[in-house]
Symmetry: D2
Subunit: 294 residues, 4 copies
């Protein structure tokens, strides 16, 4: 199948490559063309501009945030290039409001819209281990489902309203950040009583919390190893902000999310924006006087 792909950063590139490996012809575009070179070597076609990528019958996008999405769709001319009957699969973590607006723009022009955010880091994408959340009109979803299955280990459908997949993604990322903060506070308390963070977090992530979220981030926190970033703290703050905005719109108090907001800001004010978001744990240590330079 001919597939357009908008946005080939770390995650986007890994996904585009899996589609190509699965036998599709992928026409990829990226704002800074450097990110395309390795893909082209691997057999992906470089689209001359965003509109050319958007003119394919199925178009994936993996762009950084709301602003990037609208920059490409509106100023970049991609929106007008979609053909009636095409399907746009948007994998980015964007706001609920943006998802609603994009869907409305497409509906006017007879373009299908599927929200398909994913759980997993770039290495999971490369090895086909992503979990793909998917929501959208049934016919559009049916059409792209085989492609989503080629990308991930499992597709989790959430009905015909794309917004639901976005809300699930934001709620899930909130849970990940909450797990990081929870490990941070608990291991700071343990350390204050003479128990090394590695011993404490080792116990927890082998027993009650023997799950990927705790194993991955527990190890990074115990070793204070925040570089290179798997997912940048600045983007983690963005996602918590999106979760809080979605909570405002639906009148849901989220006190843990508010604590996360405060602590992300503390981390940003102390220069951690480009570190892995598990560096959130340093806030807890620093406030207790345990941090480097606290």
């Amino acid at each position: 199948m001919q597939i357009g792909f908008l946005g080939t950063g770390g995650m986007g590139a890994a996904i585009a490559r899996r589609l190509q490996t699965a036998g599709h012809e992928v026409h990829a575009w990226n704002r800074s063309p450097g990110a395309l070179r390795a893909l082209v070597t691997a057999g992906v076609t470089a689209a001359p501009d965003a509109a050319a990528a958007a003119a394919q019958p199925v178009v994936f996008s993996m762009l950084a945030d709301d602003a990037a999405v609208f920059a490409v769709l509106e100023q970049g001319g991609a929106l007008a290039a979609f053909k009636p009957g095409a399907v746009h699969v948007n994998m980015a973590t964007i706001s609920v409001a943006a998802a609603q607006k994009i869907q409305a723009l497409h509906v006017q022009r007879g373009v299908g819209y599927v929200a398909a955010p994913v759980f997993g880091r770039p290495d999971a994408a490369a090895s086909g281990k992503l979990h793909v959340l998917a929501a959208g009109a049934p016919d559009a979803l049916t059409r792209v489902r085989p492609l989503l299955e080629a990308i991930g280990q499992r597709v989790w459908p959430f009905g015909d309203d794309p917004v639901r997949a976005n809300a699930v993604k934001l709620a899930g990322n909130f849970m990940l950040a909450a797990a990081i903060e929870s490990m941070a506070e608990a291991s700071t308390l343990a350390q204050a009583h003479g128990v090394a963070a590695a011993d404490f977090l080792g116990l927890m992530s082998e027993t009650l919390f023997a799950a990927p979220a705790y194993k991955t981030y527990g190890a990074l926190i115990a070793q204070r190893r925040y570089e290179p970033a798997g997912f940048r703290l600045r983007l983690g703050f963005k996602d918590i902000s999106l979760a809080l905005t979605a909570a405002d719109a639906t009148v849901v108090p989220m006190p843990f999310a508010s604590v996360l907001r405060e602590n992300f800001l503390d981390a940003l004010a102390h220069g951690a924006g480009e570190r892995d978001w598990s560096a959130l744990a340093e806030v807890s240590a620093r406030r207790a006087g345990q941090g480097a330079g606290s």
Copy 2:
């Protein structure tokens, strides 16, 4: 071996029984004697009073809280009955300050003291699946370690200061409560966007959070099934209070723990003290206007 056992509520009874099954002669005592009957039928000896149980060479205790521990040790006469050279294995979740005081009392009289709190609910105790944290003087710990291994699937040693095992237990229970609150807020947000809590929590606990803590409590929250209580909310509040007190004493800010404190109080004020502590999730739903009778 002759073993004394003080406190045979749900957890205590299951553990006493495992010791008896492993070939030891267990002399058990409980404040309300009704709880002993089933044990006696199973072959455990009923001690006539707390002092008789405390006169054995190794004495386990699993009492509800600091007050219960001191009531049995001091007013109940158990403390004076310990023999020099005996070892007291205290499995209760008590305060760090109480652990320090009990250890000091025993040291004066030549009695060994091992703190051995556990992770696991009564059914895990019955089937030998507990995780046992253990800290205390090396000789005392060496002597009781085979007994701890008979009780649990694994023993996690934390050095010679008993307080460390208590701190680890409190930090771990804090992480459990934080997981409950995290699922509560996230599923309230998902529900507000039209996604059923069961669908959302099902996804999370099969993927990033595929661990016992999330599977167990995620199912209870999704079904709003808080009775019968595996662990009562009133005791969960007690444990968060102990964690906060330990944090005060070591000057550790714990904002998530403070949010949990507020929400446990909200739950208690709305009559949930005797429910399972996963009923904490109802606070989130009620505040968002989703609760029954919110």
Copy 3:
């Protein structure tokens, strides 16, 4: 002087009238014309449309929020009607980002911009008791200063960057909301110990807290008298959201503001949006089981 006035709700009408009483010819416009009738009777001229009001040499505006401001300026045609050399005095509590954008739009066309948010409720406006915060280019500010002095008991200048006046207004409204929450929690605690809220809040607002903020809201909370609203809770939530957004943009953690956000959402979810914002106090009472219908 000829003065345009956009937005004559409760606050706007009271201010427009003071300008007219001070001898100026006020050309007022309001989206729903009903709000103009009483003003016209009092001698104010009804402008036929927003553009006619905006064509005066000095133009005041008091519109509800960012969206209303842009609706009038852009869709409503007011922006294009401003004359070079005119001064726009914006009294609304708007976001810092909106203030920056409006200023930029005016600068392009040679129009002066003064941000002049106020502290005080409509009765204070009617009696000239407002405190007026003012920031903007020195020449524009100098020109409108006598008008601001006619409106309020005192003008507080904050330099030439309009954004500063907006930030001060948001920080001040945050302090008011924090005072309400503080009284709510403290009087809930006092009541739980048998001390009537009126007795407790009476003591505090006659002694350490003998200030307008505490006297005004303390009395409303003690009497649980939230209607009619002097300032609607829904708008209070908006202002806390604007403060949090300004804090995000400048990387400032504000944990009290986050607690206020959660409690405003709780109040909104329980139907208090149109009550006076001191009804925030009911959240505290309800969570403690003291509320009506808690």
Copy 4:
């Protein structure tokens, strides 16, 4: 009248002196006798021990905390020295639980008990400007009321249960700490937008917040002048802890108090325990990267 006085630190000394100036014979005792010298010069009698002071018909005490009170009453022998019919006026900020226990001990021996905590700093005590909260059995209260009126500018009775006066004092101190935190967050936000803390806090404490609490602490925060301490941060943390404990016992969620708890711990972990408690404001500045050495 013959009056005993236990505890002549800063506040105690000022109050003892006022009683002496009002014509009473004051028998004062203090743990470290150095604090008595200046009082003796002023005409106060030095009691040879705590029991001698406690043997007077009316006995005031102003001791640092629960532990100090029980050390003097029990280990120090004061309790047994009280005469039947005497009245004990306890001015310290102690826990609700301690107040209940002391009252019970006195009732057994026919001694009256009045809780009389005060609002005001030592200079207010010296000039008779304290506000005295008072609760206790009517006959005891009637008997000591003229003495309380000699000490303060006004006596605020709260009925016959001494605990009420303690609860009011804790709720009031919570409100003071909340005012400090509120000013800290708001002025950090203002500063981030280019407005000096002194300008912002000056405006607020001359207008909506023109009250002693805001004027006093607003000036200290604006000048970052935390030494010498009028009231030490360490004691402020103690009082917030007592408020939280009283809230626990009566099932009252207090999210602002929990934020204060976290921030006091942060301040303590950064060495501010002996500074004035308005140094709490430095936590806000440091977290935002505005602090000295943040």
